[in-house]
Point group: C5
Chain length 103, copies 5
């Protein structure tokens, strides 16, 4: 999985029929230190993630292992909303504070 | 999924038999800001996408989860045509206007 | 899929038993404009491709969706020989002419 | 698989139900020479790995081939803790010593 | 598949139970011209490859299509030992000679 930040939404009315009802979010990849990168994925949302939240995204066939995405042409899914993550004993991110500046 | 722009077509008469009838389109990858990159995929079209349209492409085994691509040697499929996408509260693209210049 | 040019062959007598009879070709990745890149894959040939031809390669589990590669440890397959491809309304490649210089 | 060093943890209370009980670790990718890179994955832990340990991570559908991750939306799993690894006849890493400086 | 050179070994006693008996080798990726790159994979050995040999590695779910790796959390397998490979009509590598200098 990669750590990402939900930065946007995609609306598509003309799509493969099985995708009806899925919500597609634009998720920017974060570095281990919490910095945004140019990388991103458009991921289906399986957990009710909101704009600005940090999430975990699973890719490939693993993205289809939820009730929302099962047997659908979908290769990325938000499967968790991150509360905190820490690296090297330092907290990098806390959900109520965002990325911690002096981490 | 990645966001891409349909920029071309590929014609191949000599191919694996199960691929007959599939339409293959050249899709350039877009950045989150709507800029074209050097990256691309040749994707099967499952939604009737046209040249110049912005689409979503699913890759890997997920590309086989449509009636058109099921059990076929195809690793990328256009599974949606994008109406609008927005990032950071700003509309980046609208189908009838294209990428919005001052986004 | 990616567009590639068949540039070479690999011979391997000592291999997983199920691979007997498969032909392995070296395929260089091409850009959308038809230029060769440093990227490549060794792909099984499912369509009788020849040296110098431009082909489409499917990767991952999709590479096993042919009679030649089914249930084999093979992650890339040539599943089509390209006749022509065009980008932005311009023909980039035609099988009988190669990459078109002023495209 | 890639060789990685466990550098952190991710806590996520709001997640796909099937993921309950899984422990998610931040694993930095290592070069063949044992140097840390910017690359990383968040991986489920199937072997009780600890902070600072060098591990092997399997990705994609292979990440679901453990009792912990079977049928779950998880695309990376720590499936082994490395004791030693050597390259070119030189030991690069030994579990009780870490990366060996003059390797 | 990619062409790689077996440069090392990984020993891991604490691992997912199904992996017992598998041998893990460090394989450096080679360019089409036979040069070593920084890229590598740790791959399970399905063909009895030795240090210094040039091999083909299959990745992803295809890496599980051998008796050694079936249903195991393993995403890369050595499925062939290369005898020769040639590019553009020139022999790049021959097993008994190694990479051919003036290729």
């Amino acid at each position: 999985m990669f750590l990402g930040k939900v930065v946007g939404t995609v609306v598509a009315s003309q799509k493969e029929a099985s995708l009806d009802g899925l919500k597609f979010l634009v998720v920017r990849r974060l570095t281990v230190a919490g910095d945004e990168t140019a990388g991103y994925a458009v991921a289906a949302d399986a957990v009710g993630a909101g704009l600005g939240e940090v999430v975990m995204v699973a890719s490939g066939s693993s993205a289809r292992q939820t009730v929302f995405t099962d047997k659908r042409p979908c290769d990325a899914v938000i499967m968790a909303i991150v509360d905190t993550w820490e690296v090297g004993g330092q907290e990098i991110y806390r959900k109520d504070e965002g990325v911690i500046p002096d981490a």
